[in-house]
Assembly symmetry: C2
Homo-oligomer: 270 residues x 2
């Protein structure tokens, strides 16, 4: 069984080129102590929390490594900004390599998972974050073995409120939105690197969510409720999900999936 | 509290230059689920498992980051090939940065711990292994942010038998020994990269220990006992320590500290 952490992106800007190797994103994301477990199965296809699903990103990895099927178990919601597709693809790749004695390097497996994400437009930076683990600033975009990152050892616990889906694919296909994201994301990264603290990370995430228009009324309401209680909150990219520091019980009144999770430096365990 | 994994080097070759930044080692090492915990204290100096000790490598870090004292708790033996000095220096650096909100990147803290190791001749590659986590092949030597590595996700549990100390400092100061180490270490790395499996790692470690003369009679006896039982064993560099795969009870008859540990991809937790 291989576990790969969920990855939460606080803000980002995209770099989409002719090839998955150089495509990726800039920005800051972090791994938490929740995520996706993968186990090989003799059944054909992808099983997600017990149900057979279509999951092209994971199917790409199965095909590349010549495996039939995988069972995924996740304790974070899908399409809600937790990098489930990246975690699923990476966990699947590692589990196949380990179980079959293929002895790939972790970098090669991460590059493969990243390729699967880019080709299917399910993510651009999650695998880089998951491969590195921790609070990861992506300062040069690209596949995991080429991306340049700075990682920070923050000790923090967040409350999460997942209120619904936002499809990465749809946001990334909207050119106007992508322009706003790219402009604002670059600025936020610069600001974060001036003062790389957990509080600053959350504040910049909120600023990014508001300036790009990615935060809808529900997200804005939740962030405001946390701030009224003396905490800070940002938005997980890309999902209708709020993550909060010192939220007290401010998020209790909101509808959605709620849980706590700690930032971890460990993105992967086998 | 910050935890940093013990690091076991299977084989290595040295690169010692005029500066700690470019000094380091080539070779393969791995992190395990045992190691060193660091906690800041108001007392002055370094406390190791409850006793005040002289520990120049850690004192270097305390001074660099302006802290007075640290309490270290270790569940692996010192000077026995577990990279305790590197783990102690790195855990201390991270703990100071996290507790004081200094917000250093993990790379900067690891470079600092590496510098402390090189200046005190207590290690050359452990911090690089601990910074990366997992089974780490160091293919270009240097400080953690400059070293080039390949990491492998091996699923393995080893039995360890620690029979006594070998001072890194003394081995590294002996030029004849260093020549044998460098020649053999380079060859072993090449062989490992041709077939990067856990079995090959252990076999090459044994070959390295024998060819360099670092294995004494006790180490050779223990390795042979494991092989007679159908397992494989290598030697932790630098310590009078044997690590074994599928050892059965072959090591039970030997005197020394014995324990099991799993290879982990997580070098650090905060």
């Amino acid at each position: 069984m291989t576990f790969v952490s969920a990855s939460i992106t606080a803000f980002f800007s995209t770099k989409i080129t002719y090839s998955p190797e150089s495509s990726g994103s800039y920005g800051v994301g972090f791994t938490i102590d929740r995520g996706v477990k993968a186990r090989l199965t003799e059944k054909h296809g992808v099983y997600y929390n017990g149900e057979k699903v279509e999951f092209p990103t994971v199917e790409h990895v199965l095909k590349k490594l010549g495996a039939d099927g995988v069972e995924l178990e996740s304790n974070v919601p899908i399409s809600a900004g937790f990098g489930v597709s990246g975690a699923s693809a990476l966990a699947t790749a590692i589990e196949i390599s380990v179980c079959r004695g293929l002895n790939y390097s972790l970098g090669d497996l991460a590059d493969m998972a990243h390729e699967a994400e880019v080709l299917n437009l399910t993510g651009l930076g999650d695998v880089v974050t998951q491969y590195n683990g921790g609070v990861v600033a992506r300062i040069e975009a690209g596949k995991p073995t080429k991306a340049i990152v700075l990682k920070f050892p923050f000790r923090a616990e967040f409350k999460f409120l997942a209120m619904g889906k936002l499809l990465t694919k749809e946001v990334l296909r909207d050119e106007l939105k992508r322009d706003a994201i790219n402009k604002t994301g670059k600025l936020m990264l610069k600001e974060f690197l001036k003062k790389p603290s957990v509080e600053n990370l959350v504040s910049l995430s909120k600023e990014f969510a508001l300036k790009t228009g990615l935060a809808d009324d529900d997200v804005r309401d939740a962030i405001e409720a946390v701030e009224s209680a003396g905490g800070k909150a940002g938005m997980a990219m890309l999902g209708k999900t709020v993550f909060a520091l010192n939220a007290g019980d401010a998020l209790d009144e909101f509808r959605g999936e709620k849980f706590k999770a700690r930032v971890t430096l460990c993105g992967i365990s086998v």
